[in-house]
Amino acid sequence: MTESHIIAALKEIVGADKVSTEQADRICYSYDATQQKFLPDVVVHPTTTEQISRIMRLANAEKTPVFPRGAGSGFSGGSLPTKGGIVLTTEQMDQILEIDEENLVAVVQPGVVTEQFQQAVEKVGLFYPPDPASLKFSTLGGNVAECAGGPRCVKYGVTKDYILGLEVVTPTGDVITTGGPTMKGVVGYDLTKLMCGSEGTLGIMTKIVIKLLPLPEGKKTMLVLFDSIDGAAQAVSAIVRNKIIPTTLEFMDGRTLDCVRQATSLQVPEAARAVLIIEVDGDLEFLDKQARKIAEIIQPLGVVETRIAETHEESEEIWQIRRSVSASLRKVNPDKFNEDICVPRSKVPEMIRKIDVIAETYSIPIVNFGHAGDGNIHVNIMIDKQVPGELEKAEKAIEEVFKGALSLGGTMSGEHGVGIAKAAYIPLEITPETALYMKTIKKALDPNNILNPGKIFLD
């Protein structure tokens, strides 16, 4: 329990109306998209860097843990207050501070919602590419902390590729700045990159300096149905080999298609066992040419049907299929473990075959879809927790999926982070020496282990 004098001090820092110990608020800030639940003792809504700095000093003096939180849409439990203490949410720090059209740079507060930022820069003809599927509600602070990715990352890279600098409150309450608004900068260590993907364990980001691109003139979306997942995977390699990097290269396997068939009115021939959604962007005059070229390249690889969207509505229809996937999986089984392994692009077919074997061994349905273009596969292990033994089977299957990805030179998580969900599996991927290096950094910066303790590395 966080003691009353700490609550009083918090109220003094941020104002009484921004501090709550009400049971209702503790419940409302106890969960994220992992659906796990840990009640914090107190919820704080700071609005300035200075307030956050003072909160961290107080927390250090009192040895009270602090859990940073954006929108709570994380898939690995990064924001969960696993040890009670303080939930510090940045959701009310939601201002876009600057959009510099001359230098193609923007400065934002961490609570700005990803899509709202994208819309704001697109209004002036600029472009912020990272597009996690949660972009309508996730915060940019959460995106940086998890180094979020999305379909467009094949061509444009992930969140960290757009972060030029940060203002950070350190675990002990100092305010530092890393990087800056210039495209180049080599003075000192690259702390900006260190913060990207640090999952709220090394500091709280209070300002984010973002690199922008000119907005492409247009885009073209196509849906290609294949008779096998191998054909789809070969198509991905063939496109890249021909020196075309599409904006997105999304795939869905046969089981995913079965779910989507049931969930939407989509007409998909039975012969189709895999799908690629391919999008290209750029100058209007090149789009048609590129789409046709792609269609030609992949035609011999077992294509059942190719649909090229002619209008915005048709393109939206194609994307709607992709977006309906996640929810439609419930039809297979009520509970899902959503892993997001990443393997080298060329190893996708091999990985899928490995997963098929695992699914058979444990006789549990595994549904795969994701970002074929960058080898990032969303592996959905579908079980019913109520059935005795299923949970144990799923856990074994997950471990084998991770081992399989690692054996192909891949990683356990491409986007969602470690948090608490994958903390136990860290030794599979990271050697003791590397882990020690990381923990040494954490220990030096956060001697009292009060900022998001127990995340990434188990205590």
Binding site: E22, Q23, A24, D25, I27, C28, Y29, S30, Y31, D32, A33, T34, Q35, H45, A71, G72, S73, T89, E91, Q92, D94, G111, V113, E115, S134, K136, F137, S138, S326, A327, R330
Partner: protein, 438 residues
């Protein structure tokens, strides 16, 4: 603060009776369907204005679940969060698992009313609302609200729930109360031509007491199409504001009265020109089963009716005006969430004197939300301000919509923003376009 003797408090007797409406327990499965993804944060207007998890569907659903699990009771903070809901259904429309938050919140409000009486819900609201500004208004009993309202509007009308006199802010724009309510001005039956359908006109309180001109436009248009119209005098409020207030017993009493009134004469359809009434009868009554369900199935929005009965073609045949007025359209939540968005636009686009322009976020709630805006006027104004900005940016001179509640709230928002637009019912534009009929 409601005082003893207030109509609001008097309602509690009926509302403590167990109702046929679904109970909070009946929603356990739906509550468990929430996967905590957070997608509703992008769509909930209240969350957009308040940026607090207690205000968003995910938070409210979590609290409702915690109440069912006995983890928390109906304490002040829970009442406040549950009161912070427009019941607009925007969350459910975009939720991957279609969690019906608006129904869950309404069921929770009924539970609160059953356990503690409506007045205690009111008191809870008042306690948490104890902001100085509102307290001042409370002191100035009456305020801007026409005192006529309470002489002319019956005790069980939703308008009373929407605007309990002491809660009305002085700076709210309200339409005047009609000197003579609409249903008292017109006969109960207006015959049409042989072979054309017969419909009952469910007027709702807004048209009856505040916007009788809309009712008159309705009749002229249906006369133009030769439709026979029945306007039962003894129809009552649809009950939707009572749903919003958690007054389950009142909802059922009103439903019974309307069933009797609307079933007296056989009709092909029951037609509404108010989105809330359409949802009240078309959706809430369906939950009551039996004859209510039959009534619900017969209920149709006026623009769906007009689109199905040849009006767009007739309008399109009229010569286009040289000088056309730019008009934009606001989707009332109670139509949008029921899938009715095309028909009003079809008719607007066919109007010869109109140039239709789409505004950004036309489907976002206006912020009225049944009883919501009375108790949370400040948040409601913030939601309205976003709407007003979009209206301003659209370049339209007029805003058309299909719900008296939205008209009132949108006009208030536009006025607060200092913008010149007028908000009208789409029927008023349709009637302007028709050749004069006698």
């Amino acid at each position: 603060m409601p005082r003893p003797g207030d109509s609001w408090v008097a309602l509690t007797v009926v509302d403590r009776i167990m109702t046929k409406l679904k109970q909070l327990e009946d929603y356990r499965e739906e509550i468990e369907q929430c996967v905590k993804c957070g997608a509703c944060r992008a769509h909930c207007p209240v969350f957009g204005a308040e940026k607090h998890e207690g205000r968003v569907a995910r938070g409210k659903v979590a609290l409702a679940g915690a109440v069912l699990d006995g983890e928390i009771g109906f304490e002040a903070k829970v009442l406040e969060d549950l009161s912070q809901c427009l019941l607009c259904g925007s969350c459910c429309a975009q939720c991957p698992n279609k969690v019906p938050t608006e129904e869950i919140v309404a069921a929770a409000r009924r539970r609160i009313a059953q356990q503690r009486g409506l007045s205690s819900f009111g008191k809870g609201l008042a306690a948490v609302l104890g902001r100085p500004k509102l307290m001042n208004v409370l002191a100035k009993t009456g305020g801007a609200l026409s005192s006529l309202l309470f002489k002319k509007v019956p005790e069980n009308s939703g308008l009373r729930l929407r605007f309990p006199a002491p809660y009305i802010d002085a700076d709210r724009t309200l339409p005047p109360i009609a000197a003579k309510p609409f249903r008292e001005r017109v006969p109960e039956r207006i015959p049409g031509t042989e072979g054309a359908p017969t419909v009952a006109f469910f007027t709702g309180c807004g048209i009856n007491y505040m916007y009788p001109a809309v009712g008159e436009a309705f009749l002229k248009i249906l006369k133009f199409l030769g439709v026979t119209v029945i306007i039962p005098k003894d129809q009552a409020c649809c009950g939707l504001p009572a749903v919003s207030a958690g007054a389950g017993g009142t909802v059922e009493a009103l439903a019974a009265q309307n069933l009797a009134a609307l079933n007296r004469t056989p009709v092909d359809y029951v037609v509404t020109a108010c989105a809330s009434c359409n949802a009240g009868i078309g959706k809430i009554y369906a939950d009551l089963g039996g004859d209510y369900q039959t009534l619900a199935a017969k209920t149709m929005d006026i623009f769906v009716f007009l689109a199905q009965h040849g009006l767009p073609e007739k309008l399109a045949a009229l010569p286009k005006a040289a000088q056309r007025t730019k008009v934009t359209y606001h989707d009332p939540c109670h139509l949008r969430t029921r899938g009715i968005t095309k028909e009003p636009r079809l008719i607007l686009k066919a109007l010869p004197q109109i140039e239709f322009v789409e505004m950004a976020a036309a489907g976002t709630c206006c912020g009225l939300g049944g009883t919501y805006s009375v108790y949370h006027y400040e948040t409601s104004k913030k939601i309205g301000a976003k709407k007003a900005a979009n209206i301003g940016a659209s370049g339209a001179e007029l805003v058309a919509t299909d719900c008296p509640g939205c008209i009132m709230q949108l006009q208030d928002s536009v006025n607060h923003a200092g913008l010149p637009q007028q908000v009208v019912h789409l029927l008023e534009l349709v009637v302007d376009a028709l050749p004069a009929v006698e």
